[in-house]
């Protein structure tokens, strides 16, 4: 870079700060442009998890998703839910005023609080809510310990 001879004049501060502001603005606009466009944002269903003495219950919000197209897998202590929420078929000339629903494929894994019997897991869906019941393994069930008092 060539050395600029300093002739004893100071550069006006205003031009420097506005240049810096301009660069900041340009950079922030650049970064925001590369944030996920709508529709590709990560989405996964909301879950409610509760635990009883003999089972773990997982409820998932899946409105508008066909339960038959869901993939539920239990590997060890991890439950994985996989599926896709498809948008209704678009006709030609549809004009969207508002899109608030989230769509797309999702995968969600959950670490279970207790060892479960993968063979006897049941799932049922009603009104857009999926209920998965994972019975606990014998050894994971809460056991009442009797205290013998003399």
């Amino acid at each position: 870079m060539a050395m600029i001879p300093w002739r004893g004049r100071t550069l006006p501060v205003a031009t420097l700060t506005s240049l810096r502001e301009e660069m900041n603005d340009l950079l922030s606009r650049f970064w925001s442009h590369t944030s996920e466009p709508f529709g590709l944002a990560e989405w996964s269903p909301a879950l409610d998890v509760s635990e009883t003495d003999d089972a773990v219950l997982v409820h998932a919000e899946i409105p508008g998703i066909d339960p038959k197209e869901l993939d539920i897998a239990v590997v060890g202590n991890t439950l994985t839910l996989r599926g896709e929420k498809k948008s209704e078929t678009e006709q030609e000339g549809t004009n969207y005023h508002r899109v608030e629903r989230r769509y797309g494929a999702f995968t969600r894994s959950l670490r279970l609080p207790a060892a479960v019997d993968a063979e006897h897991v049941t799932a049922k869906a009603a009104a857009g809510v999926l209920e998965i019941r994972l019975p606990k393994r014998e050894e994971a069930k809460a056991k009442r310990i009797e205290i013998k008092a003399d």
Binding site: L47, V49, S50, P63, N95, R98, E100, G128
Partner: protein, 128 residues
């Protein structure tokens, strides 16, 4: 064509008052050649807990959930399911008399056809 806009709760003079606390259902609104469609997600809503009313172009949807199966100790609670409520101001171009509603898998779909007078009409020309 104007968008349906959310009516602020305070100025809402409809017969279905909002409940104390509620969730706002995520809603898609789109328009086709035939009319307006609103698709609202209301997971966990039972059909008898659902109410849809239209008065003076204000559309109100309200849904009550089924009883909660509250067994056991809650470990994670992310649900936005609970009582749902939302009010929309509809533009005047739609025929609110002929609104249709369907509930499936926790999704409420409302369709409103365009008012007849706004549809392009073919005018027959009688030729003598």
């Amino acid at each position: 064509m104007a968008d349906p806009i959310d009516v602020p709760v305070e100025t809402n003079h409809n017969p279905l008052q909002p409940p104390e606390s509620y969730f706002v259902p995520a809603t898609d609104v789109y328009e086709t050649a035939d009319g307006l469609t609103l698709v609202a997600e209301m997971p966990g809503i039972r059909p008898d807990g659902l109410a849809v009313t239209v008065e003076e172009n204000v559309l109100v949807i309200r849904g009550a959930p089924g009883p909660e199966a509250s067994d056991g100790e809650v470990l994670l609670k992310e649900f936005t399911a609970g009582e749902f409520y939302r009010a929309f101001q509809l533009p005047a171009d739609y025929d609110t008399e002929r609104i249709e509603a369907g509930l499936r898998q926790g999704v409420l779909t409302l369709t409103l056809p365009k008012s007849e007078r706004l549809k392009p009409r073919r005018i027959e020309v009688k030729v003598e």
